[in-house]
């Protein structure tokens, strides 16, 4: 067993902290040191909160010394995606229009992390306003995949996936609107869950598409991910779409790993053609391992999934064009005055600010959404997409009559090279083909590592989907598969990741990452 605390699972850290074998300050400092050494190469963080994280850790240690009853996760550090509001810490959504913005309040999920005594290490990079599958659309530069620094770590939550795969944090919070937790997990050999819509409060999340957005947990193991899920989940009166029910028993499900007699449905439309051979091969093996663990396999048809990507790229831009209207240069964020106009009007200032503050992908989607919602085209585009959404939800309902969970590869390919798809928006959108249906229907989904593709040696992801509010099934199945795979591999997949070469290890590597962000 290694003594390097950054390699430990969150569950092991929580256990050792509870026994007072290690201190929260020790654990937090180890991760901050790791960040100082490697984040210059990976660029997972937009902002590192050294002082705040250590203060929280010390408070936990002091409370433990005084004999106070603490949350099981107290002292286990966590990284948070930069789309989540953190009081006193910059929150930029990877956009110039919010550079330097410091929220005056915490998102509900952040309040829960603080209440549990989990030190927040920093804010992770993302595609601007969560629009993208690679982090290449971040205004502050892309994050890199720790398996191969020339490749993307997925997106939009590539900061939260790479922070785990580079051992800079044991846990991270992500958000998933069309796959932004699951696809990054798949391409970095990590785990991520999109809970049932309404399972984690959206209060304090900067909205992309309100009917699709869902925050969720990211970890290196299924159990760790469940433990974070239990912390951030639950009813919140401040979010009118929050589910009024207890968090499903996700930790117990992860510990049980029981799939005896469970019907696992392979979605015919999400396999085969269009999937990289190595991705498909690892998927097929994983399904066979679930059978070994006691599950039954059935094939299910979801014929309307053929329209899911198209419906998503109408519904998302439509909602985004409305949500992003709030960036109007009046109350917060950037304000740019148009050149060559004396005494410009508010509308001229808005237009100049949005031109300067938004990146190309954000402008593209806002204008696409404006088109889809405009009179004359509404019925043919947005209206039609909403009907397709119903067809997809109905496909799921039928599929869940034949199966208890559904499975597919998470993404059609392994991580592609940085720059490879940047000039072809449709090629980028195709990354989300297997993850999008769950967001449209509001059901929970998880991705966990299924191995490395033979052709490129890069991680492949296995996706599990469950009916709404049955998030616990994801963890039972995920845990069962993880046990089979780890025993087959003789260790965890991430133990095989190439060693990152620490680049000096001083604080000024973060000068670039935090540039333009006020404290």
């Amino acid at each position: 067993m290694t003594h390097d605390l950054t390699r430990w699972s969150a569950a092991r850290l929580a256990d050792a902290l509870g026994r007072r074998e290690i201190s929260a300050v020790e654990v937090t400092q180890a991760h901050l040191d790791r960040t100082a050494a490697v984040d210059g190469a990976v660029h997972s963080y937009l902002h590192v909160d050294t002082r705040g994280a250590l203060e929280q850790a010390k408070a936990v240690d002091d409370a433990r010394t005084s004999g106070a009853e603490l949350h099981v996760m107290a002292g286990v550090p966590v990284a948070v995606k930069d789309v989540v509001a953190t009081q006193g810490l910059p929150t930029t959504c990877g956009s110039r229009i919010l550079a330097g913005w410091v929220p005056p309040y915490d998102a509900t999920l952040v309040s829960k992390l603080r209440a549990a005594g989990m030190p927040i290490l920093g804010k992770t990079n993302m595609d601007e306003f969560a629009m993208g599958s690679s982090t290449e659309h971040s205004a502050f530069g892309p994050s890199r995949n720790p398996w191969d620094l020339d490749r993307i770590p997925g997106g939009s939550g590539g900061g939260s996936s790479s922070v785990l795969a580079s051992f800079q944090a044991p846990l991270a919070v992500g958000t998933d609107t069309g796959g932004s937790i699951r696809q990054p997990a798949a391409v970095t050999g990590t785990v991520g869950t999109k809970p049932t819509y309404g399972g984690v409060s959206r209060y304090g999340l900067v909205a992309l598409a309100s009917s699709l957005d869902q925050a969720g947990p990211c970890g290196r193991t299924v159990l760790d991910t469940a433990m974070l899920h239990a912390v951030i989940g639950g009813y919140d009166p401040r979010d009118s779409t929050s589910i009024h029910a207890p968090v499903p028993a996700v930790v117990r499900a992860a510990q049980s790993a029981d799939v005896t007699g469970l019907r696992v449905g392979v979605v015919r439309q999400l396999t085969g053609e269009g999937y990289q051979p190595g991705v498909q091969a690892r998927f097929d093996e994983a399904v066979a391992l679930l059978v070994d663990a006691g599950a039954e396999v059935v094939e299910v048809d979801c014929p309307n999934f053929a329209y899911a990507l198209a419906a998503y790229y109408l519904i998302l831009p439509s909602e985004a064009s409305s949500n992003l209207a709030r960036f109007d240069a009046m109350r917060y964020g950037l304000r740019v005055l148009p050149e060559g106009i004396d005494d410009p009007s508010a509308e001229q200032v808005m237009a100049a600010t949005r031109e300067a503050g938004f990146g190309a992908e954000v402008k593209r989607r806002i204008i696409l959404g404006t088109y889809a919602l405009s009179s004359g085209y509404y019925d043919a585009y947005y209206g039609q997409a909403q009907k397709v959404r119903r067809l997809i939800a109905d496909d799921f309902t039928r599929a869940f009559e034949a199966a208890d969970v559904l499975v597919s590869p998470t993404a059609p390919t392994t991580a592609f090279r940085i720059g490879e798809k940047l000039d072809d928006p449709m090629a980028m959108y195709l990354n989300d083909v297997a993850t999008i249906p769950a967001n449209l229907a509001g059901i929970p989904g998880m991705s966990l590592p299924s191995g490395l593709a033979d052709e490129d040696g890069l991680p492949t992801g296995f996706q599990i989907l469950a009916p709404a509010t049955h998030d616990d099934r994801l963890y039972a199945v995920g845990s069962a598969l993880e046990r089979q795979l780890v025993s087959r591999w003789g260790g965890r997949l991430l133990e095989r990741i190439p060693e990152l070469v620490p680049a000096g290890g001083s604080d000024d590597q973060h000068a670039g990452a935090t540039m333009g962000m006020a404290r």
């Binding site: 198209a310 204008i367 039609q384």
Partner: protein, 98 residues
């Protein structure tokens, strides 16, 4: 389906309050046309008699008790403002001179 003109894109950008440059307009026209072609497949789906779905949860008018709770102070609310004056957001002119 109708093809998009450069003037259409300029009009949409105006509606969305984004002052695109000429180069951006040209690029956007090409990209939007490709994307619109791809998403138009929703029109081929068998949606006869299907009820549109706007949201995963069938919720209507969620309310909570009307209780007084602490909110942001004026200073907190103004803390991110590009410009503030007399405890208010200060904005460019909203009316024309004439």
């Amino acid at each position: 389906m109708p093809s998009l003109s450069r003037d259409d894109v300029a009009h949409l950008a105006m509606l969305a309050r984004i002052e695109l440059t000429d180069a951006e307009l040209d690029r956007m026209l090409g990209e939007l046309s490709v994307i619109l072609d791809a998403v138009a497949v929703v029109q081929q789906a068998p949606t006869e008699g299907i009820e549109p779905m706007s949201h995963p949860l069938p919720l209507v008018n969620v309310t909570r008790p009307d209780e007084v709770r602490p909110g942001l102070t004026a200073a907190q609310a103004l803390s991110g403002a590009p410009e503030a004056d007399q405890q208010r957001f200060s904005v460019p002119r909203i009316l024309t001179d004439d």
